[in-house]
Subunit: 384 residues, 2 copies
């Protein structure tokens, strides 16, 4: 053979168990791990369709919508959202105060959109009134907002007012709900969100790689009437809607969906519902987060988002104390306790540490352990 058998593959794989309290992925529930060990199903088997139907119903509950056009993407949901609603030279306004606004900008530019960015400092809110000025000046076809900015721990306010603004200007409202679903209210229909996508690997404790997304009838109608095809076959919402059976027509093959990831997500939603559903989960995430804030602040650590109501309960950003290297804290936590703490991302790199208390990790005792590690590491590094 030109390329010989690689010896390295003869050694077994090593997978350590960690406490996943970074910004995500979070730990799998044991039942989710079991679900993912089940036999494969084909992408066109009736059992698979049943699981897909259940997931669709579950996702609509999680997003509080009655949309027909709800499916999962094998790939990136933010890209799927933008690819479907943007055509060449379309104006998009992006509210940007962190990594996910920046990512939306990156994607929109690749799609040859006319991109107008409301640029704020990391951690700042996008305001409705400044957005209105952009709308009046540029008359965008699409407006993008991040509900929970995982790179700063910020919770964007006033989604419903943004929704009304978008209706007034006949603009599609696209919202990244990756870290907010399950930890704080998200009302897709009530807030008039046209395209929303959520994370699986955050509050749900499910595997990444299968990304739920929903399109309003208004959005879908505009997609059907596009002048140019969606630039990706894989992300084409019309094709996806046929595979996920959004209407009465028979299903049409689209791609080989990974049944294992569907099992994981189905089981995660089932567990979420067994545990009391949205209200119970919102309350728990808010209570545990508050407990965590108190522990940190009592011990002299500062939170990056100063106004408590603007903090997203799932991911908390802690300011790195002066003269301390964030990486040293992260290393200490992982090396000593197998506990993950994330660093900053993009503009916040080196400036913050990020702690995710999500789903099965959203417990007072976990908050206390992570707080203790943060405080201990800071003291230790201060002494050195």
């Amino acid at each position: 053979m030109d390329v010989p058998i690689p010896e390295i593959l003869k050694k077994p794989m090593e997978v350590d168990e960690k406490i996943m309290t970074g910004a995500g992925p979070s730990n799998y529930h044991p039942r989710i791990r079991h679900a993912m060990s089940l036999p494969v199903l084909g992408h066109l088997h009736p059992e698979t369709f049943k699981i897909m139907d259940d997931i669709k119903i579950g996702v609509n509950y999680l997003l509080q919508t009655n949309n027909s056009y709800t499916f999962c993407i094998s790939g990136s949901a933010i890209e799927c959202a933008l690819m479907n609603v943007i055509e060449d030279n379309d104006v998009i306004v992006i509210g940007c105060c962190g990594q996910w606004g920046t990512r939306a900008e990156n994607i929109a530019k690749r799609l040859n959109a006319d991109v107008k960015v409301i640029n704020k400092e990391p951690g700042e809110q996008i305001e409705v009134e400044e957005t209105r000025i952009f709308f009046e000046q540029y008359h965008p076809k699409v407006f993008f907002l991040t509900h929970g900015e995982s790179s700063t721990g910020m919770l964007q306010q006033n989604l419903e007012q943004f929704g009304n603004l978008c209706q007034e200007f006949d603009c599609l409202f696209v919202v990244d709900c990756v870290i907010t679903v399950g930890c704080t209210p998200v009302y897709v229909d009530k807030w008039k969100i046209d395209v929303a996508f959520m994370g699986t690997q955050k509050v749900l404790n499910a595997p990444p790689g299968i990304s739920p997304i929903t399109f309003s009838a208004r959005a879908f109608e505009k997609i059907v009437k596009r002048k140019s095809p969606v630039k990706s076959y894989n992300y084409d919402a019309v094709n996806l809607s046929k595979y996920w059976k959004s209407g009465d027509e028979p299903r049409v093959y689209h791609h080989t969906v990974c049944s294992t990831l569907l099992y994981g997500l189905r089981e995660a939603i089932a567990i979420f519902i067994e545990n009391g559903g949205l209200e119970a989960s919102w309350k728990n995430h808010q209570n545990v987060a508050k407990h965590f804030y108190t522990l940190l602040e009592k011990n002299g650590l500062e939170l990056f988002i100063t106004d408590p109501k603007n903090r997203v309960p799932s991911v908390t950003a802690v300011k790195v104390p002066e003269n301390i290297d964030a990486n040293e804290i992260i290393k200490h936590s992982m090396n000593e306790y197998n506990v993950e703490i994330s660093g900053g991302m993009g503009q916040t790199k080196g400036k913050i540490l990020r702690v995710g208390l999500m789903g099965i990790n959203c417990k007072e005792i976990v908050a206390e352990c992570v707080a203790k590690i943060l405080i201990e590491a800071t003291r230790k590094l201060n002494e050195e």
Copy 2:
């Protein structure tokens, strides 16, 4: 709540175990199922990077290449391949004799390429000389070929000659190796293939959703020099190469890869190597396929590809006997025996049945069982 808790999610999920001898996915090996039940790892953990490195080495072995630019896609590999090498108005010649040529055409048109298709009947070979005529007339930047056409069971010949032709015309050679890797020789470097991608859910018995792809240095250089950005962030080979560490620079975060799918793929490659690697697997797939052909032909069933050397050993296409409904055979097999047989796809729908004897299902006894079911179902339906 606007949308109440859905009762349907309170019932447990049902996943039946089937004999997956359709065109794919194939059954998981029990060790692969175990691997996928392991705890989640983060997308930036050193253990994850180690598994990614191992997979890269394993994929290079499977594809017989020394490329640096080898990675896995969370999404569609055919789309990743074409998105990176096509810019607006670039000429691409596509050899089309089945579903995957048609898919490439669909994707290339979405990318605003100038698409020239060598259109053959399903099951026919693309010839080097007719391709040369297209090259002389259109001077394409990209040439796309399917090595194993799963919709017809056809194995494309003369890859090396096509490789030489592409070199002569300074054209990038993109080859779909989804169903050929592991069942018949594939030599990416020797055949001068610039972009090759393979399936995980076929011969490897690994989960779908994580798609290996490799780019030659020549292809990568052209991608780096593109005039316009790749139309997708998720599929951007330059970004992916930084995350998969193709050079000496430190790794750069790209996306949250699903560690569970990496475990499944890593374990699948390890098992493949333990079983003797490529030569052993080629020989086994060829022998079992020949045994299967003999059993079918002896019993009056006809194969869709008449010339045995043009048949791909992993997926065999059987002509549907006259006056018989293909779906009835498929139903009989599934309902009576829990054995999957696939129908045709695209132009071959209703005309052929497809049987995949791949990886752990590539055994004489499995071939004999499926042959027996096909023969039995045909007789039964003839009598009705």
